[in-house]
Amino acid sequence: MPQDSKPPSSKPAAAALDPITFAVVKNAMDAIVDEIAYTVIRTAKSEIVKDVMDYSAAICDARGEMVAQAKTIAQHLGAIPEAMASVQARWAGRIAPGDAIILNDPYLGGMHLPDIFMFHPVFHEGAVLAWIVVICHHTDVGGRVPGSNAADSTEIFQEGLRLPPLKLFEAGRINETLEAVIAINVRVPDRVLGDLHAQHAACQVGAREIGRMIQRYGGAGFSGYLDALLDYAERMTREEIRTWPDGTYRFTDHIDSDGLSDAPVPLSVAITVAGDQLTVDWAGSSPQVRAAINSTLSYTKSNTFLSVRCALKGDIPNNAGVFRAITVTAPEGSVLNPQPPAAVAARALTGYRVMDTMFGALAQIVPDVMPAAGEGGNTVVCIAGRKPDRSPFIVVDMISGCWGGRPDQDGIEAITNPSQNLSNAPVEVMERTHPVRIESYALVPDSCGAGRWRGGLGLERSYRLLADEAVLQLRADRVLYAPYGLDGGGTGGPAGNWLGEGAARRALPGKVTMEMRRGEVLTHHQAGGGGHGDPFARDPERVAHDVWNGKVSVEFARTRHGVAVDAATGTVDAAETTRLREARNS
């Protein structure tokens, strides 16, 4: 079984370091890593990086342990250790200043092929003292469908260009062979190479700034402070875990299906708290599946770490010290540790469900922190066809959702999944760029799970096709297994897809590939969040406010919360409410 935790660092104790300089170095590292991330967004060419912000940045120490992470896609970062190990395995002893190594192979630490990692060493007196790491989701890396992200591939060989750790830059000069191979294998080479250059520009900014810090503190001094930063995060993490009750906590959640068969895909976790150490075991989860929703072990770990990080209350730095307190295992050949050549492109969905499953188990450990389930990950809508002038277009739209009810407040609606920090594409920009008209972008009333603290409402978005025809690819989940509630809270409203309008509107499955014709309207409802706590214990005034504010109906208030509300004024009928609530309890 793979092990990823390390024993507590045996480096010189932090006491040997100056506490003031330590605080200064920590703040400076946070500033530099944000600067790296900022350089990416300002220089990238693709919408998915610039608008949707699907990228991330980190600084690692000489061994590849992540020391600082920018406030970007959290989900990416837990994968860095595995990817770094592959880089070291291939290139150790052959790394020179000015090199930049790229990698995307999911079986060598990558996540799925569109995510290309770039590793850039920082040298001091002939030795590598740090690494800058920038990961971007690229628009296309070849393979059988545009975007290289099909959920219905069955082998990784269908998914695009696989890159083991290779030097894209050697001593500062681009490797023209590799560049040409990439350019000819992808559908939009200008975007992909443009974004790779953005990654490289950002790496250089990071390397320059880290170089200045090494100048200031000396090589050994600088490394000592990096060690101390990792120890600091580990110490804070372990201190908090020590306050958690020892024991083993289990939870199971499901993916509706892999889209190729109707079989549900269960994910089961057992978290064991023993002192200040966590062991997370995914035994009992589904075997690997045919379609491309398999999550490589590195991605499974990444989402597992991230879930624990969300459960920690302390203001702990975003570094690998946190990971040291957590051991993760998943059975070989399972959907959470697939063996080649399983397809993995659409593994994001499984990552979201890993988070949901972890949250369900963590809610038993820290019930005062964890929310009920949110929407379960963004829906991806892809509409591809030709404009009247025969030029091709591809709409790739991601629809986010909401959070579940929380222990002390309602779930947020219209919000990125906590594992991401995605944005949304402006309606007017989409209409200007593509032959579609967005007919609605709105909250869906009554789609929340009821609870003492209700879940967020789901989102609706609908698209009318203005071109003659197009191929629609839609990847939604939570149509069958709706977001769970906690502590007596109700499940959230399920996701749904429809084609057509009015009486002619018909439901579509969650995952679908089909033709769309001019004038047809596709409507998607994202799932609503689960509720937290007994719905009949919700403050009647809050229920009434939701009715007044058009978020839940009078009927919902009455049946789900036992509150009678006057629709016109939004006032509570106290006597009737008492009667409704007592009727349930009797």
Partner: protein, 730 residues
């Protein structure tokens, strides 16, 4: 009453008969103090600092104005103009006390305002609270009517639905309404018609059309901007109306100008109809003043560093102009120094000075966290109870306490002697809260607190320089605010900056800076076409409409002829990108350019367009480090219409009261470096720099600020009332 600054007995000014326009007054209402600066045509400056009256800020304003007029011996009728930086707009949002606001929008898009851009400002925070939309869902009403992206009418406006909306708003007691329809940036006819109907049906409701405040693509940004404007309308109008009345009661009939977020001034009528442009009014005056001083001292590129009690702010001046952003998020608490994080506030897509703010001020509290890390701010002791040394009950050490413990601040009293302090309380707080937990001595801990605060503040400066592709080492740092001159040299060192400038009247500099502002009105027209092939007719139509708007706005405030200037610029981007750079359309794009001050965009023939594209390529390469060989898209044409006031403050000619420059002489022991013993340090009044350079170590005290000159640095008098401190090359 408040402590007064420079309050000597009135001198005989001989200015009782000065021409109207000769006396101008700048007013900056801050959280703690209201600063008033009176400038006479002779260059004489009179200052006053009075306590802010939060419940009715106008009260403090007129109290301050009364005081400076009395001191100057000037009749109210001789005041030519009042320039006002106000926090009314920002406080109205922060305290959620704006209008009961409604929204009318396109069928299907009721929730655009609440959905926003989906992101969260932090990670891992499951307890985050998303800001409540300023319009509840109940008052967001949809009406049928749809314009396509190509401007074609897909569905005609349902006028009856708009009338029904007006009736509903009246019944619900809604006071202000924003109207924003999808694609109104292409064709606003339906939106304008809806506004017409609302105004006719409900004349008592104030209405903002999105196309009037922001005729640009992106529905959320436009909706949010229009909603914030509507939300602020009643509060701003009431405030400005009361202020005008109060001034009139005193015989002051001079026009009142309001500082806008972009550093320009707008008249009271504009401020009352487009208050969204004044949300960043407060900090704008200082930056504008810094730009003016930059001109006077020959430093057109400056970093502006303003450190107050709760936060520190950084911005930059380039080529003599403040650097602007075209959108920002206004939020409670401290704006993140890392600006790619969005989602924490209310989106305002209006031009604003690009200011990065961090939670490091004199009142920021130092503590040791659970992991043993020294943390400073953003929690602040504020002005009350204030730092530990105030002796008002706070026992947690602040940045001011660290400065006090090191000997950098006057150990008897602050604020010109009006605020007694006790350094022993500072030392005790540092000992218990920081030194003991870290196992170091209190002086070392005080250095640590200062150093961590300095690193945080340097981060704000990095956000406006390095993150924008500018090297701070090429620029001078201009410091003001209560704490700026205390920390400026150390912050400069962290960034490799070699020259620090301390502004004149540093403690009230924002109010003074307002008097150097120009009247500015910004207008924009969406174009969205390849620069090379956009039809001349489209450019000409946009330019004509913009110029008409600009001249009309200036004329309404009395600026015409030579006092009025039109500056056009273009928002450009590489085709396929989503964010633009604004490139000025200036005469030297091309030697055949039109009148100085700006190239008329109607004259953009092929070669001039190529020159404009080249200017964009250069700016892009400078900002992002590479240039692309790709078509350039013209997103918007912009106009800044500028009016120059006759009595605009010229820092080169200011004449400060000697009392404003007075301070203690002598020496005291100051600890400048951790691990080194304290050194005997010269104390000098600000006026002493006139007699020759002051070599560090030295502390220069005046009423409104304390300037630290560390060992190895030398302070010299510079132009425009500044003090320049050159750092040793090490």
């Amino acid at each position: 009453m408040a402590p007064e600054y420079g309050s000597t007995s009135p001198r005989s000014t001989g200015e009782a008969s000065l021409p109207a326009g000769g006396a101008r007054i700048g007013v900056d209402v801050g959280g703690t103090f209201t600063d008033v600066v009176l400038a006479l045509a002779s260059g004489r400056i009179i200052l006053n600092k009075t306590t802010t009256t939060p419940r009715d800020p106008g009260e403090g304003v007129v109290a301050g104005i009364d005081a400076v007029l009395a001191e100057a011996g000037i009749a109210p009728g001789l005041v030519g103009e009042i320039v006002h930086g106000t926090t009314v707009a920002s406080n109205t949002i922060l305290q959620k006390v704006g209008a009961r606001t409604g929204l009318v929008t396109t069928l299907g898009f009721r929730d655009v305002l609440e959905i926003g851009r989906i992101r969260t400002p932090g990670m891992f925070d499951l307890g985050w609270k998303k800001p409540e939309p300023l319009v509840p869902r109940r008052w967001r009403l949809e009406v049928a009517g749809r314009i396509g992206a190509d401007g074609a009418t897909v569905t005609p406006l349902d006028e009856e639905a708009v009338r029904a909306a007006a009736r509903f708003f009246l019944a619900e007691g809604v006071e202000a309404v924003a109207v924003c329809f999808i694609n109104s940036y292409v064709d606003a006819a339906q939106e304008r018609r809806a506004v017409e109907i609302l105004r006719a049906e409900a004349p008592q409701i104030l209405v903002t059309a999105s196309c009037e405040v922001l005729p640009e693509i992106k529905e959320y940004e436009r909706t949010s901007t229009a909603v914030v404007n509507a939300y602020l309308l009643p509060a701003m109008r009431v405030y400005l109306g009361q202020l005008t009345r109060r001034l009139a009661e005193r015989g002051i009939t001079a026009p009142v100008q309001v500082m806008a977020s972009n550093g320009g001034m707008v008249g009271i009528a504009t401020a009352g109809s487009k208050p969204v442009f004044a949300v960043g009014s407060g900090p704008a005056g200082g930056v504008t003043g810094a730009a003016r001083i930059g001109h006077a001292v020959g430093a057109p590129d400056l970093i502006v560093f303003d450190m107050g009690g709760t936060t520190a702010k950084a911005s930059i001046i380039e080529g003599g102009m403040p650097s602007l952003v075209t959108e920002y998020e206004f939020r409670d608490g401290i704006s993140s120094p890392s600006r790619f994080i969005k989602g924490g506030g209310y989106m305002l897509k209006v031009p604003a000075i690009d200011i990065a703010e961090v939670g490091s001020g004199g009142g920021s509290i130092a503590r040791i966290d659970a992991g043993g890390l020294l943390v400073v701010g953003p929690e602040s002791a504020g002005g009350d109870p204030g730092p530990a040394c105030y002796g008002r009950g706070n026992r947690r050490p602040t940045v001011t306490d660290a400065n006090m413990a090191l000997g950098l601040l006057n150990p008897q009293a602050l604020a010109g002697g009006s605020l007694p302090v006790d350094p022993a309380l500072s030392l005790a707080a540092i000992q218990v809260e920081v030194a003991d937990p870290l196992g170091i001595d209190a002086i070392a801990a005080a250095h640590g607190i200062r150093q961590v605060a300095n690193v945080n503040m340097a981060r704000a400066i990095r956000a406006v320089t390095v993150e924008r592709g500018k090297d701070p080492r090429d620029m001078a740092l201009m410091a003001f605010g209560g704490g700026g001159p205390l920390h400026a040299v150390d912050v400069a060192r962290l960034l490799g900056i070699r020259r620090v400038l301390i502004s004149p009247v540093a403690g009230v500099f924002s109010a003074a800076g307002m008097l150097s502002a120009e009247a500015e009105h910004s207008f924009v027209r969406a174009i969205l076409a390849p620069l090379a092939t956009v039809p001349d007719a489209a450019l000409d139509a946009a330019r004509t409409a913009l110029a008409a708007d600009g001249r009309e706005a200036l004329a309404a405030e009395g600026y015409g002829g030579a006092a009025a200037t039109l500056r056009f610029s273009a928002d450009l981007r590489y085709a396929g990108q989503s964010s633009e750079l604004t490139v000025p359309i200036v005469a030297d794009l091309d030697v055949g350019g039109l009148a100085a001050g700006g190239l008329d965009p109607a004259g953009l023939d092929a070669s001039r367009r190529a020159a404009l594209a080249e200017a964009f390529h250069r700016l892009y390469a400078e900002t992002f480090g590479y240039r692309a060989d790709e078509p350039v898209e013209l997103v918007n044409l912009r106009l800044t219409a500028v009016g120059t006031a006759a009595g605009r403050l010229d820092f080169d000619r200011i004449d400060l009261d000697p009392s404003a420059l007075a301070g203690n002489s002598g020496s005291r022991m100051v600890s400048f470096e951790r691990g080194c013993p304290p050194v005997a340090t010269r104390l000098a009044p600000r006026s002493a720099v006139a007699d020759g350079p002051i070599a560090g170590p030295a502390i220069i005290e005046s009423y409104d600020t304390t300037i630290v000159v560390p060992p190895g640095c030398t302070a010299r008098a510079a132009a425009a009332g500044c003090i320049a401190i050159d750092l040793d090359p090490a």
